[in-house]
Symmetry: C2
Subunit: 227 residues, 2 copies
DNA sequence: CGCGGCTTTGATGTTCATCAAGTAAAGTGG
DNA sequence: CCACTTTACTTGATGAACATCAAAGCCGCG
């Protein structure tokens, strides 16, 4: 093996199975990785895009800052998600910021190396195209859901996301604050809290501070679907 | 010249400048175009993706249908926009529908021909990647705006879109109904009408049925920015 | 200890949806 | 062409959904 990152899913799918030996070596040289503590901002809106990044471990939030200084969360990223999304190949500067929600390991490549790979290896390009499309599709879908659902549906969607996509367990420590749920859903903090309290008093969830236990998953889904 | 479509911007950018003679011929054979009357549904949610489409002339709406049968408009497409977006390269079936808002000319390619071009021509692949990224970015940005703005900001964004991106003129016939504005913004029809009435009585616009005249563009922008 | 940020609840007000009713406009069949 | 139906648009009255303001408890941290 050439690189140190052997268990990486991204490496297997994007690199090992598509590149020949020379390109694999190029990939290894262009790559670096970094362990980043929780609460660190790794990308600032307006930063120049110099590298292509993905998350190997941890959890991040992507957000943008409005003119009045308030922050709106665009999406949450989990392991094997691209950090660099939805404008990485079309603009020179990031139009969003990224902050870690827990300790995270971020891998990155020189942008020029990736672009060279894309130009020289069509199958690699196709794979990147597929993946960025899938990511954009997912983010857009959840964004569209937030436009059309009620406050109950919005908060339910957040809980179901962490349940199904991140922790895959009925009980987990919510890695974001009530304020961040508000920034993601477009609701006020108090409304988020009230909805969570309603879910609790209706027996859908149990709440111990940050710790959430999902009791009635079906009802949460029904609320998400129908409102 | 090989193909008939000589004035096409897409052809120039994506094909003429990137492909050699053999590939250009392949492109011509894989392409067909169609003039479609207003109000025609050209893609139905769930249809298999067989071709890559873009809009040469006209106006379209992209929308999805919720479980309760209501429709939510995702975005509007104008000339030189890709019709096939945000899941075209990552899924087998469309997750949205497309209907023409006025008479439109749609060009399409066999999906397999485009995929072959992507695999065999990295520069072409890079261009496609850039463009789909830019499109996703645009749609996501407007979607995020709809989450965080008030009803005034939402309706203002629709008016400004048609003013700046489609008609580039202070006076135009709104090509969509109040109902469609509601389906796009997530507001009720009555609320949309009331906001338009308010804009009118405040002297920001003039309204004669479908015809809209933008009087005070700055105020509309200020409303969009600050609420 | 005290300070600031996060959380929670209650009281109140604003924003928006719903219901109802009526007018205008546009297609449909005789 | 006109009666007829349907669809789009508009306004008012009312109520529900949600935000804001205020106050208080909690918790981590210097």
């Amino acid at each position: 093996m050439i690189c140190s990152c052997n268990e990486c899913h991204i490496k297997k799918i994007f690199f090992e199975s598509l590149l020949d030996k020379d390109d694999l070596e190029k990939y290894c040289n262009a790559k670096s990785e970094q362990l980043i503590p929780a609460g660190t901002t790794i990308i600032n809106e307006g930063d120049e895009i110099k590298s292509f990044k993905y998350l190997y471990k941890g959890l991040i939030k992507l957000y943008r800052t409005n003119k009045d200084g308030t922050q709106q969360i665009i999406s949450f990223g989990k392991p094997m998600d691209f950090v660099s999304i939805h404008n990485i190949f079309s603009q020179k500067k990031y139009n969003y910021s990224v902050t870690t929600l827990e300790e995270s390991k971020v891998c990155r490549f020189d942008m020029s190396a990736i672009e060279e790979l894309i130009r020289s290896n069509g199958v690699f390009a196709q794979k990147i195209l597929e993946t960025t499309n899938a990511t954009s599709n997912k983010i857009l879908t959840s964004s569209l859901n937030l436009i059309s659902k009620s406050m109950y549906g919005k908060v339910a969607s957040v809980l179901l996301f962490f349940l199904d996509d991140v922790f895959m367990s009925n009980e987990f420590d919510l890695p974001i604050s009530r304020k961040e749920i508000a920034q993601y859903t477009g609701l006020s903090i108090e409304t988020v809290i009230r909805v969570i309290s309603t879910f609790r008093s209706d027996g859908l969830i149990k709440v111990y501070g940050k710790r959430i236990e999902i009791i009635d998953r079906e009802s949460l889904e029904a609320i998400f679907e129908h409102s």
